[in-house]
C-alpha cells in the first residue's frame, strides 16, 4: 500500500518537470520551416542610389542576412556586436532594412521614390554614426521580402550557405556568445571563413 502511494507522487513530479521545462522555453523562438530550404530570391534597392542587390550574386559564399531597422530598439543592442564581428571575420553580412519607414510616421505618406530616399538617408546616417557592419544594405520598404523569409520580429539573422540554402536562423539580437558559439561553427561547417 505504501508503494502505491508513491505512484501519484511520481506522476506529480513528472508533471511538474514537464511544465517547468515548458515554462523555460521562449514561445517567441518559433522553429523556421525555411531551414534547409533555398533562401527566397529578391531584388531590392541598396543604400547606394541606383544600385540593386539580389542574393543570387552571393552564390558560392557563406553569408549572413541581418534583418534590422533604425526604429528597432533591440537592433541597437546588437549593432556593436555585429560591427565587431564584421571587423574580425571574413563572413559577409548583408543588412535588410525591414520597413524602415513605419506606417505611423508622417513620411509614410510620401510618394515611393521620396520615401525610399528618406529611408536611405536615415539608415546611412545611422550607419555612419554607429559603424557599418554590412557589406551591402538593402531596403525592404513594404516588408514583402520579410514575409518571404518568415520575419516576425526584428532583429533576425539568417545564415545562408554557398548553394543559397538557409542553414540557421536566429530571432532577436545576436550576442557575441551566439556568434562565436553557434553561428561561426555553422559558418565553418558549411565551408565559409
Amino acid at each position: 500500500m505504501r508503494k502505491l502511494l508513491l505512484i501519484p507522487l511520481t506522476l506529480f513530479i513528472g508533471l511538474v518537470v514537464f511544465l517547468a521545462v515548458g515554462l523555460q522555453r521562449d514561445p517567441h523562438q518559433i522553429p523556421s520551416p525555411l531551414i534547409g530550404k533555398p533562401a527566397p530570391a529578391f531584388d531590392l534597392p541598396t543604400l547606394v542610389e541606383g544600385q540593386r542587390f539580389s542574393p543570387e550574386s552571393y552564390k558560392g559564399q557563406v553569408w549572413l542576412l541581418n534583418v534590422w531597422a533604425t526604429w528597432c530598439v533591440s537592433c541597437r543592442e546588437e549593432h556593436p556586436v555585429l560591427v565587431a564581428f564584421s571587423k574580425a571575420n571574413a563572413v559577409p553580412v548583408v543588412g535588410l532594412g525591414y520597413k524602415e519607414v513605419q506606417s505611423q510616421e508622417p513620411e509614410y505618406a510620401l510618394p515611393d521614390d521620396q520615401k525610399l530616399a528618406f529611408a536611405r538617408a536615415r539608415e546611412q546616417r545611422y550607419l555612419t554614426r554607429n559603424g557599418n557592419p554590412y557589406q551591402v544594405s538593402v531596403l525592404d520598404m513594404d516588408g514583402r521580402v520579410g514575409i518571404e523569409y518568415g520575419v516576425y520580429g526584428v532583429p533576425e539573422t539568417y545564415l545562408i550557405d554557398k548553394q543559397g540554402v538557409i542553414r540557421y536562423k536566429h530571432v532577436g539580437p545576436v550576442t557575441t556568445a551566439i556568434l562565436n558559439e553557434v553561428i561561426l561553427p555553422q559558418v565553418r561547417q558549411w565551408g565559409g571563413a
Binding site: S32, P33, S103, A109, D142, G143, R144, E148, G150, Y152
Partner: protein, 162 residues
C-alpha cells in the same frame, strides 16, 4: 465561434458607417485602411484569418490583431483571395513561411500526435486506474469493515437489532 462572427460583422458595419460619415465630412484619417472594398473578399479573409495565429501577439488571431505584421499578412492573404487561391493554398503559403505555428488547428502528424491524442490517452489511463482502484476497494470492504474495533462492532449489531 458564432458570437465571434457576429461581433465581427457588427465591427465591420460600424467601421463602414464611421467611414461613410468621414467621407461625407470630407475629413481623411491618415491611417484609414481600405477595409471592405469587396465584402466577399473581406468575409473570406476574416474566416481564414480567424484560424491563424498572429506571430507578434501570439494569443490573438490574425483576424483580430492590430500588429503591423498582422496587417501586412492580411494584405497578402487578401491578395491571394483576389488571385482566386483556395483556403488550403493560402494556409500552405503561410505555413511555408512561418511553420505550423501559425495554425490554431495544427495538422495531425508525427510531431503532433502527442498534442492531439495525449489528453485522450491520459483520460483513458485515468479511467483504467479508477476502475482498478474501485474493484480493489469493493473486494476489500466486505471482509473487514475498517475503523471499527471488535467491541464497536458488537455494539453496532446490538443497536441494529433494537
Amino acid at each position: 465561434m458564432m458570437r465571434a462572427n457576429a461581433s465581427w460583422r457588427v465591427a465591420v458595419l460600424a467601421a463602414l458607417w464611421v467611414g461613410a460619415l468621414w467621407g461625407m465630412t470630407g475629413a481623411r484619417a491618415e491611417s484609414a485602411q481600405p477595409l471592405a472594398e469587396n465584402p466577399v473578399v473581406e468575409r473570406r479573409l476574416v474566416a481564414i484569418a480567424e484560424d491563424l495565429r498572429c506571430l507578434v501577439c501570439q494569443n490573438e488571431s490574425l483576424a483580430s490583431s492590430r500588429a503591423d505584421l498582422a496587417n501586412d499578412l492580411r494584405r497578402e492573404v487578401r491578395g491571394l483571395i483576389v488571385q482566386g487561391k483556395t483556403d488550403t493554398e493560402i494556409k500552405d503559403y503561410l505555413v511555408a513561411r512561418y511553420g505550423d505555428f501559425v495554425l490554431y488547428r495544427p495538422p495531425v502528424k508525427g510531431s503532433t500526435v502527442l498534442l492531439w491524442f495525449g489528453p485522450f490517452a491520459l483520460l483513458g489511463l485515468a479511467v483504467v486506474v479508477l476502475v482498478w482502484v474501485l474493484r480493489q476497494r469493493a473486494r476489500a470492504t466486505p471482509a473487514q469493515a475498517p475503523g471499527l474495533s471488535e467491541g464497536q462492532r458488537q455494539r453496532l449489531d446490538q443497536l441494529l437489532k433494537d
